[in-house]
Amino acid sequence: MNLTDLRHEYQNETIGPSILALVRRACASRARRYPPNVYARSALWNDDVIEDLVQDVITDRLLGERQIDYLFDVARTIDAWRALLDRQVRITLARRRVRTVVDNLLDRAKSLLDSDDSVQRSVFSKRALYSLRESGATYLPLTDEVIRRVVEDVRVVPRQTPGRGERAPMVYSKRNFVALLRVVLRHAPGGVTIRDLGRILELVLTDWIPAVLEQDEGSVGMVVEDLGEIGSAREVARQMVAGWSVDEARIVRGLLAGLPYIEIARRVSVSRPTVIKRQRVLMDGLRVAAEEFGEIGQKALIDEVATSVVERGASDGLS
């Protein structure tokens, strides 16, 4: 089968026997390289499970998102076509896992929010609605703009890199997840539904789609943690963040989120050159502090700074 024949089939039947056979082959080849308990919704990769993946790839990606058109638009050789198809399979698998991880996080969120005295649980359109008790605002469905803003802020919260074979990695420590939920509730004074939270978390995990499979293929080496150094680094970070003004904490939070200076300036209500000058001072301080530690300590320092500035954002009020 060459690309000309394949294209002919696509033009006449969209997906005919030859394309279907190649999809099946790609799914079987790719899937068996990944742990079934994570990606297969099953204990093993058997024919039925592979066929389920084939259906997902075709209905969701190739037809649902019209990637079949893209494949034939871009590929000029059969090898290129196969490579593009393989990518569609990988993305389908990655999305499965993200959904699993998000479902797990949503379960944790419900549990945490239900047991938090400062959070009020009510009902909106038969859905559970969570809001800060002091808020008193009326629920409004979150717009894309608000969702995006929340995502930018909560992506600062340190995550744990997923390991191979973990069906639903924890992603966040309890403290970090609580900080994340606080940020979300601050952004949405009228409250959020679990569905809203799901949208946010799926976007937060955007970078898992192209990358997590490759990450999983490698082995995760054990790190002998120097608990003393980690503890010291965290303490230094906490003291630094505590010493920062509200605006300084906002600037660092924006930098960690990857926001452009102009956006940070808008949030802090100062000029962009001022932001640049202030961030230099802040970064110099962090750099000096980090020099006291080894690699593990430096990572702990930055993670603690990230968590602490998010927590401060939730308590000082976000902007």
Binding site: T14, T59, T206, D207, I209, A257, R272
Partner: protein
């Protein structure tokens, strides 16, 4: 081979996509906003890529194009996510403005779509880091540090691929001294660790001059891209040297005889970061223009429209 019922039913409901702008000719009339399929020059191997064109140089027969992908999870804050209404393509795409490269006209294989005017503006804005009307609703998630954002490896691969496609054009435009944007490395301060952000002084000077009466020039976004965490942001700013994992880039052949290639390469990257964004260019000769600025070392710079020029040291 069995043909499942679910597939027969799904395909039966399928409606073919339309391509109102599709065109394949020997010599395409290339316009800003075109979404083209581009191939490699002879002797280069990479596969075709879809690119969105946002600057066309008719005289030199080259254009500036940003990779277009259907994997919208790769979209960062400078990328634009576009639905079919904005492209004439039947599927959603992300235009990775930050990875734009120069390509020859002859590399264009086929026109597949065309950006609407506002989408073209958004792609431009993404490249320059400026704001545009739909910045918030059509942008991707900001890219964080490599340790925090899992997309770096994939973006690096995408960048490598598009740079490989652009290699012939990139090499030749340097070799042939096409006077495309370039800042003399000696304009940049050399004292101290060049990676610690000290270049910010120069950027401040450039920016200040830009604010004084020029309609277009060294934009705030350019500072954003090169100040602060300089090494990473510079490389993001100039995709031809995009190397997030810190690999060595190939320097233009015209400058390979410098004494300290490492330091020089960094300075060149810095310079290209400015120039690659299209705001500054150094030119030779002795003609003077206004306005003129001095830095703390007494070096004088002249700022022209899209031009920075060192006249004396």
């Amino acid at each position: 081979m069995d043909f499942p019922d679910w597939l027969a039913a799904t395909v039966g409901e399928w409606v073919s996509g339309t391509y109102p702008f599709r065109e394949k000719e020997e010599s395409l009339d290339i316009l800003e906003g075109d979404i083209l399929l581009v191939g490699a020059m002879e002797g280069y191997a990479p596969e075709h890529r879809m690119v969105a064109i946002f600057d066309v140089d008719e005289k030199r027969r080259l254009f500036l194009g940003a990779p277009v992908t259907t994997d919208v999870s790769l979209a960062t804050a400078d990328s634009v996510i576009l639905t079919p209404d904005y492209t004439g393509l039947p599927y959603q795409v992300a235009v990775l403005s930050g990875l734009a490269v120069y390509l020859w006209f002859v590399q264009a294989d086929e026109r597949l779509g065309a950006l609407t005017e506002e989408a073209l503006e958004a792609v431009w804005a993404g490249y320059y880091g400026a704001e545009d009307p739909f910045q918030s609703s059509h942008r991707g998630i900001p890219l964080q540090e490599p340790g925090m954002d899992l997309r770096w490896a994939e973006l690096d691969a995408e960048s490598s691929h598009i740079r490989e496609l652009a290699r012939d054009c990139t090499d030749k435009r340097w070799d042939e001294d096409l006077h495309l944007p370039f800042v003399a490395p000696r304009l940049l301060p050399v004292s101290g660790d060049s990676r610690n952000g000290s270049h910010a002084e120069v950027l401040d000077i450039l920016e200040e001059a830009t604010r004084e009466g020029r309609t277009r020039g060294f934009s705030p976004s350019c500072v954003e891209q090169v100040a602060g965490t300089l090494d990473r942001r510079i490389l993001r700013a100039y995709p031809n040297l995009f190397q997030p994992m810190g690999q060595t880039a190939t320097p233009p052949t015209a400058r390979k005889d410098q004494d300290d290639p490492g330091d020089w390469l960094f300075k060149l990257t810095m310079a290209d970061a400015l120039a690659g964004a299209g705001f500054v260019k150094v030119i030779g000769g002795d003609d003077h223009s206004e306005p003129t600025r001095f830095d703390s070392n007494g070096r004088r710079y002249e700022f022209l429209y899209e031009t920075v020029k060192e006249t004396s040291v």
